[in-house]
Symmetry: C2
Amino acid sequence: MADNKTLALIGCGLMGGSFALAAQQAHQVHHTIGYSVPHASAHHFYELGVIQSIAASAAEAVAQADIVLIAVPVAAMPSVFAAIAPALPDHALIMDVGSTKRSIIQAAQHHLGARFSQFIAAHPIAGKEKAGHSEPFAHLYQNKNVILCPESQSNPAYLKQAHSLWQAIGATPIILDADQHDRGLAAVSHLPHLLAFAYMDALLQQPDATDLLALGGPGFRDFSRIAGCDPTIWRDILPDNQDQILPLLHAVRQAIDTIENAMTQRDTTQLEAILQRASQARINWK
Amino acid sequence: MADNKTLALIGCGLMGGSFALAAQQAHQVHHTIGYSVPHASAHHFYELGVIQSIAASAAEAVAQADIVLIAVPVAAMPSVFAAIAPALPDHALIMDVGSTKRSIIQAAQHHLGARFSQFIAAHPIAGKEKAGHSEPFAHLYQNKNVILCPESQSNPAYLKQAHSLWQAIGATPIILDADQHDRGLAAVSHLPHLLAFAYMDALLQQPDATDLLALGGPGFRDFSRIAGCDPTIWRDILPDNQDQILPLLHAVRQAIDTIENAMTQRDTTQLEAILQRASQARINWK
């Protein structure tokens, strides 16, 4: 039986809490011990019943764990690895849920030593755009992709366990190497967030911003939705993955220039050709 | 009774057809006569029952009309005004549904002569992103805003009639001058479309575009949705409103530069401050 397992949850937010709830409901986990900075988040999760006990430190949380899930902001990952490394049991599966993978894997390799073979980097493609404290819910990962990025040193048994665990809570595991992950997410997530933030900020700089925003309709709503995301999360992700984001941002600048040029030259033939290929690609998507 | 009125519909697409259906269901219109290039669209609307007769020309369509709705692409508006001007009855309300207003008003003023006082420029903020032939439906304008842009020469009786008509089909009229309309729509519609098209095109230029697009999740879906819009419509709108779009595009480029700079300098304090104000503005929106 899988459900006698103990989960150590480091970081008590939407992503980690939803995993803990889902793993419990899927009988993959019997007991969850949580640790969080700020501590109030762990107490809140205890009151919600998401975790069954509160640890005094990250090291204490993992000491008896069969599964460790690190669900803290990207920039906080290295210090968590350093804190838990001395206390990790020799059989525990260790995972994170961070939005970038190369830097987290590097930090894990640096701090976990021999335990690095037990680490499987994971990124579930799910979340909410609202900043602040969203309550966790067990079906957050239902029918969502989760990208797993094993390294050559990863023990295949842990990869298999991670795969089964995410499947058991309704997610679809996809295995990618960390470079592919970071480039792919730069393209379909980090870059759109950067552009949506920049777009909103440009509107805010206008003296008549309030009048302009009042006219927003469904197109505005969808296009700008991700600009409502948590700034503290994106403050970490963008610098962390900048080497993958920058070449794509350069390509967007070039595409904007090309469209602007066709627009100001009133070269409607070329303009239509560009818009046509972009439109068709979007219509063909999924 | 209002429902003995005849509507002349010039242009048989989603916007015009949905207006005709809605006006008929709201007993604002008794009979709709349609004209369209291509003619097949008018025949299709006749078969659907959206229009009750087909005119051989735009001038023939308007000759007996009480209400004229011009629902053709922005670039085709001047030739329609020229074609209908000699045939317009002296009591007909004339409206368009174009996405830009200054150039259409100019063309109307140029071609309609004394009938210009009967013209009320209108822009219902509704539509669909899919290119090609979307079937019209009567509730397209339900709970949507419609911007009306009267000029100083507009006869107030026609403005009042236009106002009542859009209200009768469930829309909320907003009165703006044409400059405000064109700047506002540049900000919340034209610019996001340009950016979404450019973003999709930049991804398509990548050698691994297929792999990248396969990773798109909910953020990608919403952000890029409007890139699936009809390229023939946007080929017209962008050049037509370029003087309003360009200063805003410049502001977006500056915001991108500022974010890039904070990102590459790893100035997370400044980066968070920018993302924070953009995020808060988006959360506060409506």
